[in-house]
């Protein structure tokens, strides 16, 4: 395994409702590695297990078997308490539905990941404001999130994913709710972060995403299993 591996899975398997009639094998013995600075895409048809694999990598759920090693730390047997810590310190998440919290302002939404830490609120506000500024969102900082356009919501979600200065950015179907122009904008923003040394993992079946020349690693999936592992460029 190369020294700059940041995420590696080995035989990672995830069952839902194990042992019950509605048992689902969502991810089936997947082994692969992502290097630091990779721009990678998990691609595959609907139901192939992309989201599940993404949340296994993101330490949001524990594998039924196999292991997930993130930044040198085996996360597969850690108690939840420590998984949360890894999530907070290592990952920035951008969800398919954006998952902003309605009723709160853009600025407050961006601050959320760092509330349960020892950064003071004024400090947090400063960081959130600076991030929004870099994404051309400062004029919307005090707006409640429910009034935002789709593109603005996504920028808010991006700012939120970056507030903890994560090494790895995970995005699930980020372009599903955007038109072509906004999707391209999104890819540009991601490239910018890749250039700053961040590792990017996107789950998507949108050709606009996985055919982008900037994408360096393609992980293809079908029915929970790995079908393709292609490094480009």
């Amino acid at each position: 395994m190369p020294a700059d591996t940041i995420i590696s899975t080995s035989g990672v398997t995830k069952y839902f409702n194990r042992g019950r009639p509605n048992e689902v094998l969502a991810v089936n013995g997947v082994t692969f590695a992502i290097r630091k600075g990779d721009f990678s895409v998990l691609k595959g048809p609907s139901g192939s297990g992309k989201t599940t694999l993404l949340s296994l990598i993101g330490c949001m759920t524990r594998p039924t078997a196999g292991s997930v090693v993130v930044a040198g730390r085996d996360a597969s047997h850690l108690p939840e308490r420590f998984l949360a810590e890894i999530r907070r310190k290592t990952f920035g998440f951008i969800f398919q539905q954006f998952h902003l919290i309605p009723g709160m302002s853009v600025l407050q939404n961006v601050m959320i990941p760092l509330y349960p830490t020892d950064s003071t609120l004024p400090d947090l506000k400063r960081r959130a404001a600076a991030l929004l500024d870099s994404l051309d969102m400062s004029k919307r900082a005090a707006f409640p999130v429910q009034g935002l356009s789709g593109g603005e919501q996504q920028r808010t979600a991006i700012a939120r994913a970056l507030i903890n200065d994560p090494d790895i950015i995970l995005a699930d179907e980020p372009t599903a709710h955007l038109d072509t122009a906004l999707s391209k904008d999104f890819m540009e923003i991601m490239k910018g972060f890749r250039d700053k040394g961040k590792t990017i993992v996107i789950a998507s079946h949108d050709p606009l995403v996985f055919e982008d020349p900037a994408v360096g690693l393609i992980v293809g999936m079908r029915d929970g299993s790995l079908t393709e592992l292609k490094r480009r460029g």
């Binding site: 524990r62 039924t64 078997a65 108690p79 939840e80 420590f82």
Partner: protein, 335 residues
């Protein structure tokens, strides 16, 4: 007798404490039986989630227990009007043989619940939760204490007989009487003061050494000396400290200082004493866990912080208790 607002409050308040601790012990039993940290089964996941419930239950129980303990003392104090010969809580608690044991059981519950929470905090910092077994076994030690506290307290109130003449602090804590209370108050003032001072010196020295180095002999010494200090301090409150607050040479009541007449000085006094002694004792009590690899890095830092907390709290207690000796003309010389 049981239809007194304070007693109804206790039946509900400490009844809920009991309920919380009972449920946490039941959950603890489940966890103990099936716990397997290496498994990633759904069962283990659900047990892991239950540990959060247990710690929440115990934490709330501790909070409720603090309120109930005060309520118990207050209610006993309020009872003194009903009891011939009782002038304050001491007299009421003495009205039948259940009063003081009920109080002791409550104090023990307080300490045990606090100890459980501290253990839990430490345990949660190691990825393999090495103290799980010890922790959940400790729950079974808390159970008898809290049950005893509840039952004794109800028995106490249930069997209060207003016609029996009780002995009050005047008698119980007076120089002439027999029994533990009066043997405390009739301790010679000078000698008690000296012992109190020496114990404090011991706490300070071992506390500062433990806080600086976190090394084994000092933490153990701090444990022992703060335990001794706790009892010494209670004896001193009865023998001489309270008298300076009351400005009366023979009023040996450890409870009246909780009243408004004495500016509620009892609250900070007992809070600092309890917290200080607790952290002092805990510093040495966690010594064996240093051997556990996943805790080896955690424990010494925790010990040093606790040692410092204990030293500071006990120092505050000592300062509070000598303020009236220094700033009021009242003196116990000759008593």
């Amino acid at each position: 007798m049981l239809l007194h607002p304070g007693i109804i409050g206790l039946i509900i308040g400490s009844g809920l404490t009991l309920l919380l601790l009972f449920s946490s012990a039941l959950l603890g039993m489940q966890i103990l039986r099936k716990w397997d940290i290496t498994s990633s089964s759904e069962l283990q996941l659900s047990l892991e989630r239950k540990t959060y419930l247990v710690s929440t239950l115990v934490q709330y129980a501790l909070l409720f227990q603090v309120i109930s303990a005060f309520l118990f003392i207050y209610t006993a104090d309020d009872m003194h009007n009903l009891l011939v010969g009782a002038m304050c809580a001491t007299g009421s608690l003495n009205a039948n043989p259940y009063g003081f044991p009920a109080l002791y059981a409550q104090i023990v519950t307080l300490f045990l619940a606090a100890a459980w929470i501290s253990l839990n905090r430490i345990d949660n910092r190691a990825e393999d939760y090495p103290l799980t077994r010890k922790k959940y076994s400790l729950l079974f030690l808390i159970l008898p204490a809290v049950t005893a506290g509840y039952v004794l307290q109800l028995t106490y109130f249930g069997s209060i007989d207003p016609d029996v003449i009780t002995s009050c602090c005047g008698v119980l804590f007076s120089e002439g009487g027999a029994g533990l209370g009066s043997s405390l108050s009739s301790l010679p003032v000078r000698k008690t003061e000296i012992v109190f001072g020496l114990l404090y010196l011991l706490v300070i020295v071992s506390g500062l050494l433990a806080a600086r180095s976190g090394r084994r002999p000092f933490t153990l010494l701090l444990s022992a000396s703060s335990a001794l200090f706790f009892f010494g301090a209670i004896a001193s409150v009865i023998t001489f400290i309270s008298l300076y607050f009351y400005q009366m040479p023979s009023h040996h009541c450890p409870f009246d200082i909780l009243q408004s007449g004495y500016y509620y000085v009892g609250y900070p006094l007992y809070a600092t004493l309890f917290a200080g002694s607790f952290f002092g004792v805990m510093t040495g009590a966690v010594e064996p866990f240093r051997k556990i690899p996943s805790l080896a890095a955690v424990i010494p830092a925790v010990q040093r912080r606790w040692a410092l907390t204990a030293t500071v709290a006990i120092t505050l207690f000592v300062i509070l208790s000598i303020v009236p000796m220094v700033f009021t003309p009242f003196t116990l010389e000759g008593y």
